[in-house]
């Protein structure tokens, strides 16, 4: 049990504790800024290479202001590796006009497609990493509520997060107890206990869900989550957060017009 505690929650682990202007912004302002920025980047024509340079500079400025260590951001960028692998394959398999690079024949269209995916994926991912590193999950949920996302939807996300956490810990405990009884699955034919424990895990989680529901009923829950809004975004929050998408939108307009 204590081991699982030491590892903390799977959910809150993305948050990086620090004092910064970005951490202090109201979550709803950050959410809107993120969406605005990413949409602008996604809409930018891939041939406007300079525009992506502007986006990269803008988002990395935010990283520096947020005091989130650069190596943390780079490590988390590893999530886009699958896209990268996919993207670098395109020039090899793409058709149309070909160009020679180091004696290899590559598709020009494919190269542009690769650039497009790499640039947009890395900029979008960096922006999301900044949000998740500077905003706690509960605050993101509060932000969603304030943005008028239906309360039921927010409640579902909240419980998913909560249960994910309990589930991971439950699984950890079951694995510990199996290991304690000398079960050490290394080979495929040894996984049967793990597979059957998935069933037990489900039953346990289901029962826990029932008990939590009862605890909610006991405290007057009647089917709708109460609003617990505090400290909504101020004009200062909005204007600070707006600077990022504003830069992006201006860049986008220039890129499209040129």
């Amino acid at each position: 049990m204590s081991g699982a505690h030491a590892h903390g929650s799977a959910v809150d682990s993305l948050f990086v504790e620090a004092e910064s202007a970005v951490h202090g912004l109201a979550p709803e302002a950050k959410l809107v800024a993120l969406v605005g920025f990413v949409v602008a980047a996604a809409l930018t024509p891939r041939t406007s290479v300079w525009a992506f340079g502007v986006y990269a500079v803008a988002i990395w400025l935010v990283v520096f202001v947020s005091h989130v260590p650069v190596r943390v951001v780079l490590r988390r960028l590893a999530v886009i590796v699958p896209f990268v692998i996919f993207a670098v394959l395109i020039p090899f398999i793409g058709g149309g006009e070909q160009t020679q690079v180091l004696g290899v024949s590559l598709s020009v269209d494919g190269l542009w497609a690769m650039w497009n995916i790499l640039a947009k994926a890395s900029i979008g991912a960096t922006a999301s990493i900044v949000l998740s590193a500077t905003t706690r999950v509960p605050d993101v949920l509060t932000g969603l509520t304030r943005l008028r996302v239906p309360r039921v939807l927010v409640a579902i996300i909240a419980f998913m997060m909560r249960y994910l956490d309990l589930l991971v810990r439950q699984l950890g405990r079951m694995r510990t107890s199996m290991t304690a009884r000398c079960h050490d699955p290394r080979w495929l034919w040894q996984v049967k206990p793990i597979a059957s424990s998935a069933g037990a895990l489900f039953v346990r989680s289901y029962e826990r869900g029932e008990r939590v529901h009862q605890a909610m009923l006991a405290r007057g829950y009647t089917g709708t989550m109460p609003t617990l809004d505090r400290r909504p975004a101020t004009a200062v929050d909005w204007s600070r957060a707006a600077s990022l998408p504003l830069v992006a939108v201006v860049t986008l307009i220039v890129a499209v017009v040129l």
Binding site: L166, L217, R219, G220, T222, P226, L228
Partner: protein, 247 residues
């Protein structure tokens, strides 16, 4: 804060699909402000009984009255406000993202909002000595901290009757002592399920022993715990070397 008497008569309950009755005719009277320990072996029906007190299990047979309110579908909401139940596993009790929201959940459901809600949350957490935990995530607290917060989540609804299911399980000796201080300081009528007999003796003048879904003994805790034959018959054991007549 006020406290309410509790009256239970001929309470019977069988879980759906089971043959054996989990509760087999419970009769119990508790006066306002009394602190009563509910003792009994594993599977004797204590948790099942507790779940009845705020209507989490539907009444099959018998009657429950809390203060002037009779347990019924119509009164359920008010009964749940008056009865604060703290469950056996604190992880079930705490389900909101932060301690603050968890403590606010009950009163918010009752319509408390804004500054009043904020004040209530802070006050209640101070009351249980957990003021510093307000912005923490409840599932990362220690067992003792979780227990305090769990108690705060029901205290914030100003209940008249507090029902606690095994509140000392998983607490270290200091945590246990702090819990004792807290419970003794609360004015509410209290029904405390426990396997910790010295704990029962320390804070509950009266004890009820449940076994096989029935009340088999009801009297002053000191007398019950001194009756070795009674305890042995119902699988209750005092810690080694503990003498209830000499505490």
């Amino acid at each position: 804060m006020s406290c309410a008497p509790l009256s239970v008569s001929q309470l019977r309950f069988t879980y759906p699909g089971e043959h054996h009755a989990a509760l087999d005719g419970i009769d119990l009277e508790v006066t306002a402000g009394e602190r009563v320990a509910l003792l009994g072996p594993n599977g004797s029906g204590k948790t099942t009984f507790v779940m009845h007190l705020n209507g989490l299990l539907e009444l099959q047979n018998g009657a429950i009255t809390i203060g002037d309110l009779v347990m019924s579908e119509d009164n359920l909401r008010e009964i749940r406000r008056r009865v604060g139940a703290v469950f056996q596993d604190a992880d079930d009790q705490l389900f909101m993202p932060t301690v603050r929201d968890d403590v606010a959940f009950g009163p918010a459901n009752l319509g408390v909002a804004g500054d009043e809600l904020d004040r209530l949350v802070v006050e209640t957490l101070e009351r249980v000595g957990a003021g510093a935990l307000i912005d923490r995530s409840p599932h990362h607290l220690s067992g003792g901290e979780k227990r305090r917060v769990a108690i705060a989540t029901v205290l914030s609804m100003s209940p008249h009757l507090l029902v606690l299911d095994e509140p000392t399980s998983g607490l270290d000796p200091a945590g246990r002592r702090e819990l004792i201080d807290l419970l003794v300081s609360l004015p509410q009528t209290q029904m405390i399920v426990t396997h910790d007999l010295p704990f029962a003796l320390q804070i509950c003048p009266r004890s009820v022993i449940i076994s096989g879904g029935r009340v088999v003994a009801d009297g002053p805790t000191r007398e019950l715990l001194a009756d070795t034959a009674l305890l042995a018959q119902h699988r209750l054991e005092l810690p080694f070397g503990f003498d209830p007549t000499r505490v």
